[in-house]
Symmetry: C3
Subunit: 384 residues, 3 copies
């Protein structure tokens, strides 16, 4: 029993370790070392490109911890408040990153990262989930009605995100140049943006009432009950973890955003590309992993809700909050006027989101088509 | 029995009065006094803003009477002709208002009111119906096939309404300025507009054949059978009422249109906003009330048919008829070239109409989303 | 039995002849004489307009023979390779015509004919099939899932076909003039076009895997089993026929393309109109006939698959192959930058394709609506 037993024990431990690392809460831990590395590099004024890459990797575990802590806190606080917490803190990392970009005056990067998050969730996250899930399961079903509510919210948001640009074009003004850092628009545009933001936030609040109260049976909230997580956290532990994670996300985001302009020059990518593709992927890494995880287990309802729901949340909550914040932070208030690429990307991805979800079924090929659309957009943006 | 009986009798009478006033044919009667008031003010050359407001309020009861008379006449004349009457006179008030605007040379106001009627029916009327209906009933069902036929008609109309603008842009011309009164376009544009109008009218005629003859079972015509109306009218009474209502609509419309330019200055709104929001609401007030009435009684099929059907009718019947009329009335023929706001609004609302109706189900939140889109458009148009 | 028997025999023969001529493989034979006529006229340098018309008519029987030979070869080679053959040679005529146009340097005609084929298949072919089928059958059903896969492919293709134009507009460049023969774009645009083409071809290959292998049960391949065709061809006969047909299509296409510029002047149509309407109709004449044939026999699945499938194939296979070929043929590489009409037509027809197919049902009126949209586009293009 001697050596054989020890080897078997070893193997079991390694197996458990491997299982943990590849579980949805395990793997981000591997990236934890990048947090102090980014911090040290930043303090020692190292090369911006290296700072950018390490802080980008460092954001991922902090965002994952934030997601986990929110979930645990939500699980402890009853469906109503729990759902509210889940939904409100769900996109906190994106909001925090954008907050620091706003503070730095990088309004065009903020707008690019808003659009990038919408695109990334619909095309990359949902695409990867449908593709991976579809490799295992021939046809996967999900609830059409819930998906439809959220894709209609996206369409509504698209109207709000497109109209200020129409106003700009009809009044003879130009759309922002993708290469600009920040563009100031007329006071009419600012007023329109504030008004639209209030309408979006009001609709978002009504949507919470709808999905958490009057029609909550449409949205099955069996999120944490799938046996993956170990013991539940105490409320105290969850609140402390949320606080630490929030601070860490903030720290990493500030470093990340501070290095964007210089780093993008170093890597040879435009700040626009960095905002719309790189920052969006970093900010949504956690959603990405979780959606694929559920899709592979044939829980397509959750995967679709996470991806389209996150997109809708970015558009109806994060974007308007940033507009309102911009009156207090940064050089001048930010108007919701997007550039031509962003407008085309919003409109096309909303049409596709509707088309892919209206049937309530998905296959690997549908997933691949979404990924192909993301590749098409990414390729074009690369040349900006 | 004395005083108690008199009080009870009084109460019953008051109840009946209240019931009548708040019924779909009662409340417009309250606005009847505005008809002579508007007339007197107009004759005494009062302030344009006051004339505008009173005549706008005066249009509503005359349009309601016209709707009621059409319905009664339709009920007396068998399903085929009845349906035809209903459908043809259904948008007579909009047509009459636009006719006088055309005569005044206010072509841009005419086009704005066409787009405003399409938007208003899809977003405001259907939105309010779904919202009010959804407050009482958790999920409301309606026939998808009938809704789909009409939303496809709207898409077809959108193609026709968008292409002349594409032609204009590709040939290097500009779109009309929303602040203009009337813009003359090239003779090619006029020919295109006439051709498109004939295609739209032909499709409209085919649609009548479809919905009244070959596939009439799809469209349930149990419109007046819901016990609200009292005794049926005789044909004679209906024809006389239709004649009086038509004349009154015409009179009010002429006064209304004559005061638009001056009044819009007085109120501080652009003629564009007045055309696309105010005139459209006034012209569709009757549909509005009826659609909400049916939605509250869970007759969603009727509510959706009224709203999307009216939009389709405006696009496929009223708009082309106005183009053809413009060759005989007004300064020069009107081309179907819409401005940037109108184009964006048409395209976005057609996409939303399709998205909201393709499932055959609605909830209060879907209604609220439609109202939010209307608010977004209204807010932006306010700053034009 | 004498005279009566002879007359009856005569009648039977005539009936059989009539049946053959009006069958889907018979009627193109009537156009065979135009092949030598076009050849003789071309060699004798006759009037370009006459050459154009005769060669256009001559393309039709050669394309029909090519389709038939491909089908027979496919039927002999098992579902996997058979499907591949069918799908790959299915749009060979369009590819061959475009190849010669590319060689002549008529890149704008090539792009117009790509868009024209997409439009023609969705609007004209599917419209005519739904209309004719719907006259006989009240409501026709088809498989939504298969139709949806293909309409999503079209949307994906639309993204790829629209983005280079967005890139062009955002970088401050103009879209090609519809009257131009060929426009050279920046090297960035060429790189984007190549990248997009590779993504489209990859998606196309994945789509073959999906429809011929992993989900082949969704697409019922009972194409040739409907008893119309007579005896099956031998592989040898099919290969020889394919070779002859290919050579004949090539010959006719070269003559056709060589006469476009001069003929379009003669007829008074722009080369743009000839490319987007005339060439597209000629190239798709065979699909057209076959789709109507199946629709009339209530095999709507096949009719819809042929029309939307052909559109998707043109967009995901023919268009990218032509972009790659343009690096070796013609004056300079062709970028996928479409003009304003083409962009509007692509976007609108993709939205309509989705709307008409998502229900899995069709009626004569839906067919007529598609035809009306085609008429609207054709009318507008006529004035270019």
């Amino acid at each position: 029993m001697g050596r054989g037993g020890a080897a078997a024990h070893m193997l079991r431990r390694m197996n458990r370790f491997r299982k943990f690392v590849f579980s949805s809460e395990g793997w981000p831990l591997l990236l934890v070392p990048f947090i102090p590395i980014a911090l040290v590099l930043e303090l020692s004024h190292a090369d911006a490109t290296v700072i950018f890459i390490t802080s980008a990797l460092g954001v991922i575990p902090t965002a994952a911890l934030m997601g986990r802590a929110t979930e645990e806190l939500a699980a402890r606080s009853g469906p109503g408040i729990g759902g509210f917490l889940n939904v409100t803190f769900g996109n906190a990392p994106e909001l925090i990153i954008a907050f620091f970009a706003l503070k730095e005056g990088l309004q065009e990067v903020v707008k690019a990262s808003i659009v990038g998050s919408i695109l990334g969730n619909i095309l990359l996250v949902m695409g990867a989930a449908m593709f991976v899930g579809g490799l295992k399961h021939k046809v996967q079903k999900f609830d059409r009605t819930a998906a439809n509510v959220q894709s209609t919210m996206l369409t509504l948001a698209a109207v709000a995100l497109v109209l200020p640009a129409v106003f700009q074009l009809v009044s003879g003004g130009g759309l922002p140049d993708p290469a600009a850092e920040a563009v100031e628009f007329s006071s009419d545009e600012k007023s329109i943006s504030v008004g639209l933001s209030l309408i979006l936030l009001g609709t978002y609040a009504a949507g919470l009432l709808f999905s958490l109260k009057t029609h909550k049976d449409l949205f099955n909230p069996v999120h944490g009950d799938d046996g993956e997580h170990g013991e539940p956290w105490s409320v105290k532990k969850a609140v402390i973890a949320l606080g630490i994670a929030g601070a860490a996300v903030g720290l990493m985001s500030e470093i990340l955003v501070g290095s964007i302009s210089e780093a993008s020059e170093g890597i040879g990518l435009s700040p626009f590309f960095v905002g719309i593709i790189v920052v969006a992927i970093v900010g949504n890494a956690a959603e990405h992993w979780v959606a694929i995880y559920f899709a592979a287990r044939n829980k397509m309802d959750l995967a679709v809700n996470i991806s389209i729901g996150s997109s809708a949340q970015i558009a109806l909550f994060v974007a308007p909050v940033l507009v309102l914040l911009s009156f207090f932070i940064g050089p001048f208030p930010m108007a919701l006027v997007f550039n031509g690429f962003e407008l085309a990307a919003i409109l096309l991805s909303v049409i596709i989101a509707q088309q892919v979800t209206h049937e309530g079924e998905s296959t690997w090929f549908e997933g691949l088509q979404l990924l192909a659309v993301y590749a098409i957009l990414g390729l074009t943006f690369y040349f900006v």
